[in-house]
C-alpha cells in the first residue's frame, strides 16, 4: 500500500486547514456522529431552507481521514438540494463498498473520489464514512420535520 494514495495532497490540506470546521450558531440541525471504537466524534451542522442545504460545517475530534472526509463532503453538499445530497451520499457509500464503477456517477463526488482507496483499509473505512452516515441521518430527520 502506498501511503500517498491514502494521505493524498487533498486529504492533507483538508486536515491541516479545516476551513469547514467551525461552529454554526444558526444551524437548523446539528447531528452528532461517532465511532466508539476509534474515538472519532463529529457534529455536523446544517442550515436547511425549504429543500436546500444553504450552509454546512462541522466540529469535533477525529483522525485525518474522518476530518478530511467530512470537510470534502461539506464542500460538495453546500448549496445542494436535499435529494441531490442524498444521491451523492449514496454514490459515496457505494464507492466505498466497491459496488459502483461508473465513471460518470463517480464524478459527482468531486474531490471525495480520492477517498476511494480507503475501501482497501478495513480499519479506516469507518473513519471515512462517519460524516456521510451522519449526513444521511440528519437529512432524514429534516425531511420528517418538513
Amino acid at each position: 500500500m502506498d501511503l500517498n494514495q491514502i494521505y493524498t495532497e487533498l486529504i492533507r490540506e483538508h486536515n491541516k486547514n479545516p476551513i469547514n470546521k467551525i461552529k454554526m450558531l444558526d444551524a437548523t440541525i446539528s447531528e452528532k456522529g461517532h465511532n466508539p471504537s476509534c474515538g472519532d466524534e463529529i457534529i455536523l451542522h446544517l442550515k436547511v431552507k425549504e429543500d436546500t442545504i444553504v450552509d454546512a460545517s462541522f466540529s469535533g475530534i477525529g483522525c485525518a481521514i474522518s476530518q478530511a472526509s467530512t470537510s470534502m463532503m461539506i464542500d460538495l453538499i453546500r448549496g445542494k438540494k436535499i435529494d441531490e445530497a442524498e444521491k451523492i451520499v449514496d454514490i459515496f457509500l457505494k464507492m466505498i463498498r466497491k459496488e459502483i464503477d461508473n465513471k460518470e456517477e463517480l464524478e459527482k463526488l468531486g474531490d471525495a473520489i480520492f477517498l476511494k482507496n480507503i475501501s482497501n483499509m478495513p480499519v479506516r473505512v469507518k473513519c471515512g464514512v462517519l460524516s456521510w452516515h451522519t449526513l444521511k441521518i440528519a437529512l432524514e430527520k429534516v425531511k420528517e420535520d418538513n
Binding site: 501511503l3 491514502i6 491541516k16 474515538g39 483522525c63
Partner: protein
Amino acid sequence: MKDYKADFKILKQKINGSTIAYLDNGATTQKPLQVIKAIEEYNKLYNGSPHRGAHYLSVNATKIYEDTRGKVAKFIGARNSREIIFTKNATEALNLIAYSYGMNNLNAEDEILLAITNHHSNIVPWQIIAKKTGAKIIYLDCDKNGQIYKEDIDKKINKNTKIISLSHLTNVFGMVHPIEYIIGKGREYSAITIIDGAQSVPHMKVDIGSLKPDFLVFSGHKMLASMGIGVLYGKLEKLEEMEPFLSGGDMIEYVDLYETSFHEVPYKFEAGTQNVEGVVSLSAAIDYIENIGIENIETIEEELLKYALKKLKENKYVEVYGGEDLSNRKSLLSFNVKDVHSHDVATILDNNNVAIRAGHHCAQPFIKHMGLNSTCRASFYFYNTFEDIDRLVDSLGGVRGVLGYGS
C-alpha cells in the same frame, strides 16, 4: 541479547519485504514454537475430555489439566493449587468475582473502590453490580503520570469499602501501582482486594505468598499462551464461601430436579468442558518463561523501556506520557505525535510494519481523566529488540511528513 525471536516464526516472516516490529504485546503476545508444538502434540497424541472418562485419553487430559493447575499455583506463589480456577480470559475472571462475590455480598451502604486507571473489564462489571446492589463506586485519582497516590488512597478507603479492585501494572501508561500498600489498607478495613494482573503477571514477578491479595486475575494470551484461557486466583476461604457463577456439567455433585449440590472448589467454578488445549499452552508458556527467568524478562524490558524513552525524547514532536521516574514504570509506554491523531500514526507505522496500538486502550475513563482523546501505545515483551525500537522511532520521524506538516 539472545535472539528470542528465533522461537517466534511470526516475527521472522517478511510482510512486503520486512519483518514486523511487533510492539502490541499489551494486547496479545506471540507464541513460541515450544507452545505451538505443545498444542499440536496434545491434539495429535492426548486429546480427551477431562474429569469425565475412565479411558486413556480422558485420564491423560485430566492429568495434564490438573498438573497445570499446580504449575500455575507455583508460578504465582500460591500455596494451594485448589486456589487456581481456569477461565477463558481475565475478563471472565473479573466477571466471576463481580457476580459471585460482589452480587451476593454488597448492599446500598457499601463502596467499591476502583482506580481511575482501570481497564474496562475492571470497571463495567462493577457498574452492573453497583446498579443491582445499590453499592457506590468510588474512584482512586491519579497524578499527571497516571500513578495513584497514598493521600488519596487513605482518604478514600473507609469502613464502607468492601471491594478494592485495580491493575497491578496499568495498560495505558504502564504504571506499577502500589498494591502492597493497598492490600494492607484493605486488610485493615476488612475490604477484599482484587488485583488485575493482566499486564503484570507476564512481565514481572508476582508473588501471592508475599502480596496476599484476595483475588488475582490474568490472561494466558498475554503471556505466550493461547487465546481462550485465563486464570482466577482466589483465597481458598473466599472461594469456598462463594456461590458458583457459570453452572452446568462437571461443577456439580448431585443434580436433583429442583436442587443441586455443587462440587468442591475449584471445580465448582469450572462449568462445562474445559479448555484443556488452552491449559496445555499455558503450561508450555510458563515453562518457557521460567526457562528465561521472570527476573531476566524484567531486566530485558527495563532496558527496552529505557532505550525507547531516550530515543523518543529526541523527537520534539512526540510527547511521551508517564514521567521520568522509571522505578515504577514497566513494559509499555503511551505517546502522541503533535497535530496527528493516534489512528493516523498507527496506520502510517503499520505501513512500515511497525505494529503499535492506537485509541483508548479499553480505558476511556482514564483517557478522559488525563484530558486526552486517545494515545499511541508501544508495548514490549522480552523478544523485542533495540532494532524494533529504532524502527518505531524512525517511522515516527516520518509521520508528520506524511500528513504534510513540516518535519
